[in-house]
């Protein structure tokens, strides 16, 4: 009875096009933002910040990138982790080689580098589609990681092979506590998520969805496939690149290619399948799910089986549950958690009436 639309008339198109048209929605989102930025950094434990919140935000960002490319533009890509790697290494190298490079500028430029690489590896999408394109993106994944690994220049010829990420300094202020890193990551991810939402509901988003749904008809309307697809690759890779930089600098603390392997690419794909393809919210939900599941399983096993469970059995079970859940979601709710959330909201609008 609180979540009502009746009686709320929109008198302009601008009102209709808002992201959160219902008054209650606006209040809730406002409260969420206050909570996220002001309260959480002060009350959350180190564990929560470092092991849960920061990686969740970073992976939500990658999932957004993946969703833009695969969910909205329909280009199946298995190479997101590769673009993350480009971002991470680009950031490291910008900070290393350019004196006085501001951190945020380095992150932005890393995104641009990843976007450029994304455009190059997106070129095949102009001639190939579907399954074939997915395999072509595998090429980008393997090739990028190989290049970053083999050519010592990227690692500044460091003999140990593991580079430590530089500290994050913005306008003289050092971001090194978990809470500080969290706020930084949250701010960046928040801004980019808003940008993504704006793009998706504008002409660019429609151009992606048109090409995804029926590219011949899209062309007939006047969408040129090349700019549309390449822009999707570019923007998606930008997001992945920024996420990669944040992953290395605000989470891992090291910059290494092996972290960005094919396994991670698969996980990112799973995030959008489970969270909901073509959904901004779904990217966040899916990332949370994929991150939390291993922890949940681990806790479950230890409570039920005590210490009789060894690590390999646990990881094996994790694999099985992951895979089974993917299949389950695809069969039962192909639009993922985001759709479940939408259905819940719709039921809330009617509550307490049944229909």
């Amino acid at each position: 009875m609180f979540y009502r639309e009746a009686g709320k008339f929109r008198t302009s198109y601008a009102q209709d096009a808002q992201i959160f048209p219902l008054g209650l929605d606006k209040v809730m989102v406002g409260a969420l933002l206050v909570f996220a930025f002001l309260i959480v950094p002060n009350i959350a434990s180190q564990y929560w910040l470092i092991a849960l919140l920061i990686p969740w935000l970073i992976f939500s960002l990658v999932a957004l990138g993946q969703n833009i490319l695969t969910g909205y533009a329909g280009q199946l890509s298995l190479g997101s982790a590769g673009f993350m790697a480009v971002g991470a290494f680009a950031c490291y190298n910008f900070l290393l080689r350019v004196d006085g490079m501001p951190f945020l500028a380095a992150v932005a430029l890393s995104g641009v580098c990843a976007a450029a690489v994304g455009i190059v590896f997106g070129l095949p999408s102009l001639r190939i589609r579907g399954l074939y394109l997915a395999v072509a993106t595998l090429a980008s994944q393997f090739f990028i990681v190989w290049v970053l690994d083999k050519f010592g220049w990227f690692k500044n010829y460091d003999p140990s092979g593991v580079i430590t990420a530089q500290p994050i300094v913005i306008l003289g202020y050092l971001f090194d506590s978990a809470a500080e890193k969290y706020v930084l990551v949250a701010a960046i991810v928040g801004v980019l998520a808003l940008a993504a939402k704006n793009m998706v509901r504008s002409n660019i988003g429609r151009s992606w969805m048109a090409v995804r749904d029926m590219d011949v008809a899209a062309e007939v309307i006047g969408f040129r496939p090349m700019p549309v697809k390449l822009l999707a690759f570019a923007i998606s890779s930008f997001y992945c690149g920024v996420a990669g930089a944040l992953f290395a600098f605000a989470y891992l603390g090291t910059v290494e290619p092996s972290a960005f392997n094919i396994d991670m690419s698969f996980r990112i794909l799973f995030m959008i399948i489970i969270g909901g393809v073509a959904s901004i919210l779904g990217s966040f939900l899916g990332a949370a799910f994929i991150l939390l599941l291993p922890i949940f399983l681990s806790v479950l096993f230890h409570t039920v089986f005590g210490n009789a469970v060894d690590a390999s059995m646990l990881s094996a079970t994790e694999l099985i549950v992951f895979g089974a859940l993917i299949i389950f979601f695809l069969i039962v709710e192909p639009h993922g958690l985001a759709r479940l959330w939408q259905v819940t909201k719709e039921k809330l609008r009617l509550w307490p009436f049944p229909h």
């Binding site: 793009m199 002409n203 969805m209 899209a218 062309e219 006047g222 969408f223 040129r224």
Partner: protein
């Protein structure tokens, strides 16, 4: 009858031949279309009508012949060039974007009128936002015109066939085309839906002056609303003239009755 002024030739196809591998879809077709008229293309199934439309707007490339559009002679056109030049179309099997709502589909038709780039859209900044609202207003005019306001937020995949066809027409109209190619716009509709569709097509022609080229099987409709008719059979042109002239053409009658000739 209406008192539109039918203008000069806006589109003409000359000696178009199209083949797929060994199959000859079109052989040496020539006809013209005058501005502001309603031109029907008719013929038995498999005559090559859809292929003809596809050649006009660039979906297929003809092996021979040329197209003259608005004074420019060209061998062929890219589909998006055709769109930029003011040609819009609907498809026989409905080519709506299934993942989007009615409103979004119609908005895609406004694509060519949009000028802001992705950065401005990402920021939802002044000019981008104003442009989006302006285009929304234009799209809503079309939605009003075709009386589909109630379903504007419905995903198109959930609509019944007849309404989907109407939405596809809306999307084509949203581009404010000079020439509208309609591929069997009334296929699969009942009598009432057909009457509505006829009404809309005629309104488009009268109010906006849009030149209409349509493929249609319902002879009643064709005779009623067309100014001139082209008849195709087995990829060849066997008739060209006013509905009355064509109706009395023996070759056309034979083709429809299946008499070999």
């Amino acid at each position: 009858m209406n008192e539109r002024k039918i203008g000069g030739v806006i589109l003409s196809v000359q000696n178009i031949s199209l083949a797929f591998g060994g199959v000859k879809a079109l052989t040496d077709i020539s006809f013209d279309v005058r501005e502001h008229e309603v031109r029907a293309i008719i013929g038995p199934n498999g005559a090559g009508k859809s292929s003809m439309l596809n050649v006009i707007n660039g979906v297929y490339r003809a092996q021979q012949g040329q197209i003259t559009y608005r004074g420019q002679v060209r061998k062929d056109m890219d589909t998006h060039q055709a769109a930029e030049q003011g040609i819009a179309r609907t498809f026989q099997n409905i080519a709506l974007f299934k993942g989007m709502t009615v409103l979004d589909n119609v908005m895609t038709g406004r694509n060519l009128k949009m000028k802001s780039n992705f950065l401005m859209q990402a920021l939802w900044w002044g000019p981008a936002q104003r442009e989006e609202m302006e285009q929304r207003r234009k799209a809503e005019e079309i939605i009003d015109f075709l009386e589909i306001q109630r379903i504007r937020k419905t995903p198109v995949s959930r609509l019944p066939y007849g309404l989907q066809k109407r939405v596809e027409l809306a999307r084509a109209l949203a581009a404010e085309p000079k020439v509208l190619l309609l591929d069997e716009p009334m296929a699969g509709m009942n009598v009432e839906e057909k009457q509505d569709m006829c009404r809309f097509i005629l309104s488009v022609n009268e109010q906006f002056g849009t030149t209409i080229v349509l493929i249609e099987h319902d002879m009643g409709v064709v005779m009623d609303i067309s100014d001139r008719v082209v008849v195709l059979d087995y990829g060849k042109k066997i008739g060209d003239g006013t509905p009355d002239e064509v109706r009395n053409n023996q070759e056309v009658i034979d083709a429809y009755l299946g008499i070999a000739h």
